[in-house]
């Protein structure tokens, strides 16, 4: 329960600085509630206490001291979850290609526009993952999009290790994969050695207990165990050990692997690596990977689609243009979808919004329910944070978004975004948006 340890300071901080807000319960009266877990409710009420959802239902008694947000005629649903995005950091990748010991937590900047834009677009949870131009690119973290300091935002510190199968511009795929295997093999040997030592030690202890040796000796043995001592200064040994530690937890299945596949051929390698090293793999797919849809479907691994969902491809032989609709292909292969967004300048406008990606999937045959799940609960499950976020259920974090209408419609606005029971975005207070849409107002 790493989450506990990080949220307690958050709560303490919250209590000290905003005592009233934390103590006062919040009630949202919604025209329509889409809880994702369960059927949508008309005229429902959501009760929030201490930053957690207390109850969701119809005709609930609203406590007398509760602050009430009247969202009549509006739609309330869980905040969106951005499942893979390097934009929360100041720089997506290290120049060194093999840096499993690095964590994005050290690079997250809460004041980045990415977080502000996320709140404006209803995204309340984001997985900050190192970029794709790397080999072993460091550890991802799942954060809330609201907070003043990084530590306040963290939901899951060790969310996974980023691995990319696409070699740099001049390198060969063969050496890239050989190097990757070498690192994985090294870690596997270390794991094996550690397991053997543990077993020997256990055997030794049992033996000693049986022989009834005195306890002091046993204690000394235990201290001499091969685990790195905390507080060691940063030297060669410690960085190598940290590097190994991250890889070991990857191989022990304590951490998942975000494996980036640029081409369809990489998918096959990713699946092979997964089987060979028993990894907990999440496939991060490039545009071209739709061609390996059957292999992906057979592997049953969770996938994150690239931000370009519909594109034209020219047949090199006939010159015929073919329209490739990625979500349609994956849906037909019965692969559950999740989406990436991209806020870089060369992205199309639509692919900057999670709801737009989901709406595109609906356009090509995915049901609305599934599409909504693919931007809330499903990414939360993939990231392993579904006990906290992703749906509106009692006990989960009060991260939700109030929309002016149907979530997948173009003319729907995010009215309010709420994270941990606090309003972190309010369209009425959004001066930037107002300035953009109605410059004459002021």
């Amino acid at each position: 329960m790493k989450h506990r340890s990080t949220t307690i300071p958050l709560l303490l901080w919250g209590l000290l600085t905003a005592q009233i807000a934390a103590a006062q319960p919040l009630a949202i009266k919604a025209g329509r509630v889409i809880p994702i877990a369960g059927k949508p409710l008309e005229d429902g009420v959501i009760l929030i206490r201490d930053g957690k959802i207390d109850a969701v239902g119809k005709g609930l008694a609203i406590p007398i001291d509760a602050k009430v947000i009247d969202a009549g005629g509006k739609t309330v649903m869980p905040g969106f979850v951005d499942v893979h995005n390097p934009s929360g950091m100041s720089q997506a990748n290290e120049r060194n290609q093999n840096v499993p010991f690095l964590s994005v937590v050290d690079s997250i900047d809460p004041s980045r526009t990415y977080f502000k834009e996320s709140r404006r677009n209803g995204v309340t949870t984001a997985a900050v993952v190192p970029g794709n131009s790397t080999m072993i690119g460091g550890q991802a973290a799942v954060v809330k999009t609201a907070g003043r300091y990084v530590d306040d935002m963290i939901l899951k510190r060790h969310a996974g290790l980023k691995i990319s199968l696409s070699p740099g511009s001049n390198a060969s795929r063969m050496s890239h994969l050989a190097n990757l295997r070498k690192e994985l093999d090294k870690a596997r040997r270390a794991v094996k050695k550690e397991d053997e030592e543990q077993r020997e030690k256990k055997d030794a202890v049992e033996k000693k207990n049986a022989e009834d040796k005195d306890a002091d000796q046993g204690q000394a043995d235990r201290d001499a165990g091969g685990v790195a001592k905390p507080g060691a200064s940063f030297n060669a040994a410690s960085s190598a050990e940290q590097q190994l530690a991250a890889m070991k937890s990857l191989l022990r299945g304590q951490m998942s692997a975000f494996i980036y596949c640029q081409n369809a051929m990489d998918v096959v390698q990713a699946i092979r690596l997964t089987e060979q090293y028993k990894l907990k793999t999440i496939l991060v797919l490039g545009q071209d990977c739709y061609r390996a849809a059957q292999e992906i479907a057979a592997s049953k691994l969770p996938v994150i689609l690239g931000e370009t969902l519909v594109f034209w491809k020219t047949d090199p032989r006939t010159g015929d243009d073919e329209k490739i609709v990625v979500p349609k292909i994956f849906h037909e292969n019965k692969i559950p979808l999740t989406f990436q967004i991209n806020d870089t300048s060369n992205a199309t406008l639509g692919s900057r919004y999670l709801w737009y990606q989901a709406a595109t999937a609906v356009k090509y045959g995915v049901s609305v329910e599934e599409a909504l799940e693919s931007i809330t609960l499903r990414p939360a499950k993939i990231l392993g944070v579904d006990q906290f976020v992703g749906s509106l259920e009692p006990g989960k974090d009060a991260d939700l978004v109030i929309l002016s209408g149907h979530p997948l419609k173009l003319n729907t606005w995010v009215e309010k975004t709420i994270v941990g029971g606090e309003v972190v975005y309010d369209r009425e207070q959004d001066q930037e948006l107002r300035g953009l849409l109605d410059p004459q107002a002021d």
Partner: protein, 900 residues
């Protein structure tokens, strides 16, 4: 090409045994399901890749594997087998290329010795190998890098097949070593360690690598194998080194193939020595100079499994061979080496000099026939031998029962210049077909309206090579026809618009003279074209709307605009003050007619002249012959006369003897000139002629008049500005006369129909209902539009309907640009106001084509017509009907975006 009977019979027997077993199993099980997967390919000849060549044979394939190969008569096929008759074609095994760089081999890692790298990691199974398959290549070896001493391990993959596992024949086939000069430039390695630099962890200098000369390369190779021989380091040692040595040791101890690239004699020698020292089994690649090795195979044969020769020549390119310098012999040609190696009992394979030539390997291999190698030996170098050398001969390399069904269909014997590859099959699936451009499409819909008033329910249209090849409920179609289903859809012929302003990417301004070839101005990039065809319009006329005579070009709205006829019509305009315009028009037509008539007369005269010329040639021949005969006769007569004179003078002396001798004498004398003439003319003729000339001499004299040579008629003066009128006056193209008011219409009929007797189509014809009797009686057609329904004198007039009821043929014109797509909608409105849908469709399709004299090609859905189809979501001219797809000349040019 003799059959090796013993071998073949044992095969056939084995096959038959398997067959019996198999058919027993089938008869017990679900025969129908299983039987459907059996394919039999009948060919004129099957080269199994081994010694056997079967004539008139069949290859039986099931589930991607070969079940049986045998003579046509000896193989019994289960019921339900799909039969493929390939005629005289020749089947050979799929080609195996023993070395390629298809795994991205030019990108090497930095290390000189990196045996742990695997080529299979760099191979893209999803890449498009169409070009290679089209060249008959089905299996390739893929090499790791090509610029390091030991760049890694190769692999063997198939270029097609159902799954990646099935396509991977060997993921670690051989350990590659390059002793040639390509590997002698290793980079220096600089690898800073992870973490901060400190006194304890200084920056280490960059690492230099061995192998800048052959000596150091061989030394490095020896050191590596020696280290591996000593044993792999213990677990706790450097893991990198361990992995490296473990790989090398595996190849050495298990005597797995080490592939050594060595071209110069010194390199070859080094390779053989290293192999001898460490007991390696090597594959020698690219040897250029073999020196004495070919003469003493026992010196190296134990170490060398086989040789892979570089074709050295790039197809279609010229390469310079070294200048002979007298001291050194030029390197032998690859086929010379091949001949010697094969004679020495070595297995030989061929690879292309460059990866971009792999698809031409059949051509390159054909060159090896120059070395005196037989077709069969060359084929072995591309099939059986490489498969054995790569260790994949259990799957590929020959056509035998149990092997993968990888085969190539050739039009003729292999290794002949003109032999084409017709198809390539990998694991029983066809991967290439030369007829790809001739691919046919079967379009099926709920109904087909043929444009002539007939409706076929639940029918299909077969389109092949841009033409309609079948229409009906049940249409014959090739097996591989692409099928398009439009449930509930309706197929109608492509619509024709008799006047538009699209095709040149902008407006057509100014006066266009009648000789202008508008077809040359057409711009396929005109965006209005794509919009226009969305409405279902496939053919249009294009031209100006000025009042002076102007040409109209007919073209199709395909992706490239295709001109049908230029000009397809000449457009005139009758409006304004008729007392002025009509005489002016008449003047133009009169001079045009004079011109056209002059040319018509010339044409007639010329035709007559040609016939006369022919007759003259015959007459002249007759004359010459008769002349010769006459001359001969004259000469004879002279002789006779002389003889007679003589006779008369000698009559007293020998009067009794002469008559008997006279006859043969005369015959001889006659024979000589006759023979001469009969050699140039037909025999027998002189015989026939002779009596005639003998009997009726005066007549013959009359015949002997020399025939007069016919005079060639003089050509009229050509005038480009009047040239287009010739087609008009010949009735090949219509005159499209814009006339609206009754007076204009009457004048148009009077001038064009009555006076000049042209094919007249009234354009516009707003008041045509007022002169309907005249138009009907003179059988004048009308191209109505753009306004079809108007209110005249407070009454609604639906002109097409009026024309239809008066039996006046009509078509439609939009005179629009992007609005061309709205023409069917305008007609729909007319249908809503009383026009029959059948008449409307007729006017948009078949009638329009007839008015343009293009009915042989367009306007109907019938066999032989051009494939311009419009698929509607419902019956034509229903408000709810949308255009689902448009096909022009057999190609889909517009499809409704599937939004929902």
């Amino acid at each position: 090409m003799k059959l090796n009977h013993c071998n073949w019979w044992s095969h056939a027997l084995q096959g038959a045994a398997i067959w019996c077993l198999a058919s027993c199993v089938w008869s017990g099980g679900a025969a129908g399901v299983l039987a459907a997967t059996v394919d039999a390919y009948f060919a004129g000849q099957i080269w199994t890749g081994t010694e056997v060549v079967l004539d008139d044979a069949v290859l039986v394939v099931e589930g991607g594997r070969i079940v049986e190969v045998g003579s046509r008569d000896d193989v019994s096929l289960p019921a339900g087998t799909r039969l493929h008759e390939l005629g005289e074609a020749v089947i050979i095994p799929g080609l195996v290329v023993a070395e390629t760089g298809l795994a991205g081999g030019s990108r090497d890692g930095p290390e000189t010795i990196a045996p742990q790298l695997k080529a299979i990691d760099g191979f893209d199974f999803y890449a498009d190998f169409h070009r290679l398959l089209a060249g008959g290549v089905t299996t390739v070896q893929i090499s790791p890098g090509s610029n390091r001493l030991m760049p890694g391990q190769g692999a063997v993959v198939k270029l097609g097949g159902r799954s990646i596992d099935e396509r991977t024949l060997a993921d670690a086939e051989s350990l590659r070593v390059l002793l040639s000069s390509a590997s002698r430039n290793p980079p220096t390695i600089y690898e800073p360690p992870v973490g901060a630099v400190s006194v304890d962890r200084p920056l280490e200098p960059s690492k230099r690598q061995l192998g800048r000369s052959l000596a150091s390369a061989v030394a490095a190779l020896r050191a590596t194998f020696l280290a591996a021989e000593k044993g792999v380091p213990a677990e706790n040692q450097d893991p990198d080194e361990r992995l490296l040595l473990r790989t090398v040791a595996d190849y050495r101890e298990n005597r797995r193939t080490v592939r050594v690239t060595a071209s110069q004699l010194a390199e070859v020698r080094a390779a053989v020595r290293v192999a001898k020292q460490f007991g390696l089994r090597i594959l020698l690649v690219d040897p250029l100079q073999l020196g004495a090795y070919t003469r003493y195979p026992e010196q190296w044969a134990p170490m060398v499994e086989g040789v892979i020769l570089n074709a050295s020549i790039r197809p279609g390119q010229i390469n310079n061979r070294p200048v002979p310098d007298g001291r050194r012999a030029p390197p032998p040609l690859p086929w010379e080496n091949a001949r010697k190696l094969v004679d020495a009992g070595m297995r030989v394979a061929i690879h292309a000099a460059d990866d971009s030539d792999v698809h031409e390997i059949l051509f390159l291999a054909g060159l090896f026939q120059q070395g005196g190698l037989s077709q069969r030996e060359v084929l072995r170098m591309l099939t059986e031998w490489p498969a054995e050398l790569l260790g994949v001969d259990d799957r590929v390399g020959s056509l035998r029962a149990g092997k993968d069904a990888d085969f190539v269909v050739l039009s003729d014997q292999p290794f002949q210049t003109r032999t084409r590859i017709l198809a390539t099959y990998v694991s029983g699936q066809r991967h290439f077909d030369r007829d790809i451009s001739e691919k046919s499409t079967l379009v099926r819909a709920a109904a087909v309206y043929d444009g002539m008033g007939q409706v076929i329910q639940d029918a299909a249209v077969l389109v092949q090579g841009g033409l309609i090849r079948g229409v009906g409920r049940d249409v014959s179609a090739p097996l591989d026809a692409e099928s398009r289903q439009f449930p509930g859809g309706v197929i109608v012929p492509g619509f024709i618009d008799l006047h538009t302003g699209i095709g040149i990417g902008g407006p057509l301004t100014g006066t266009i003279s009648v000789q202008t070839k508008l077809g040359d101005q057409l711009d396929s990039g005109d965006p209005a074209v794509a919009v226009a065809r969305q409405g279902g319009v496939t053919t249009v006329l294009f031209g100006s709307t000025t009042s002076s005579p102007t040409p109209l070009v007919a073209f199709k709205l395909g992706d490239t605009l295709r001109v049908l006829r230029d000009p397809a019509a000449i457009r005139f305009k009758l409006d304004g003050n008729l007392t002025l315009t009509a005489p002016a028009l008449k003047r133009t037509l009169t001079s045009a007619k004079a011109y056209a008539d002059a040319w018509r007369r010339y044409d007639e005269q010329f035709k007559a002249y040609q016939e006369q010329k022919k007759a003259y040639a015959v007459a002249l021949a007759k004359y010459n012959e008769a002349k010769k005969a006459a001359e001969a006769k004259a000469a004879e007569k002279k002789k006779e006369d002389e003889a007679a004179k003589k006779k008369s003078s000698e009559a007293g002396k020998t009067a009794d003897e002469k008559p008997t001798e006279d006859k043969p004498d005369r015959q001889q004398g006659d024979g000589k000139p006759e023979e001469k003439s009969s050699s140039s003319e037909s025999a027998g003729a002189p015989d026939a002629k002779k009596p005639a000339s003998d009997d009726a001499k005066p007549e013959a004299d009359a015949e002997l008049k020399e025939p007069t040579k016919p005079k060639e008629p003089t050509k009229p003066k050509a005038s480009s500005s009047l040239e287009p009128y010739r087609a008009l006056f010949a009735g090949k193209i219509p005159a499209l006369v814009e006339a609206n008011r009754p007076a204009e219409l009457r004048e148009a009929v009077r001038i064009f129909r009555d006076e000049f007797m042209l094919k007249l189509v009234i354009a516009g014809g707003n008041d045509a209902m007022r002169v309907a009797d005249l138009l009907a009686s003179k059988e004048v057609a009308v191209a109505t539009g753009p306004m079809l329904v108007r209110t005249v004198d407070r009454r609604l007039v639906n002109l097409p309907q009026v024309l239809a009821n008066r039996q006046i043929p009509f078509a439609f014109q939009s005179r629009a640009t992007t609005g061309v797509s709205g023409l069917p909608l305008a007609v729909t409105y007319s249908v809503g106001k009383g026009l029959a849908a059948t008449d409307a469709l007729n006017g948009l399709t078949a009638n329009a084509a007839r008015l343009l004299s293009l009915e042989q090609r367009l306007g109907q859905i019938a066999v032989g017509k051009e494939a311009d189809l419009v698929v509607l979501s419902g019956p034509p001219f229903e408000l709810s009907s949308r255009v689902l797809a448009v096909m022009i000349d057999g190609r889909w040019v517009h499809e409704e975006e599937q939004t929902r």
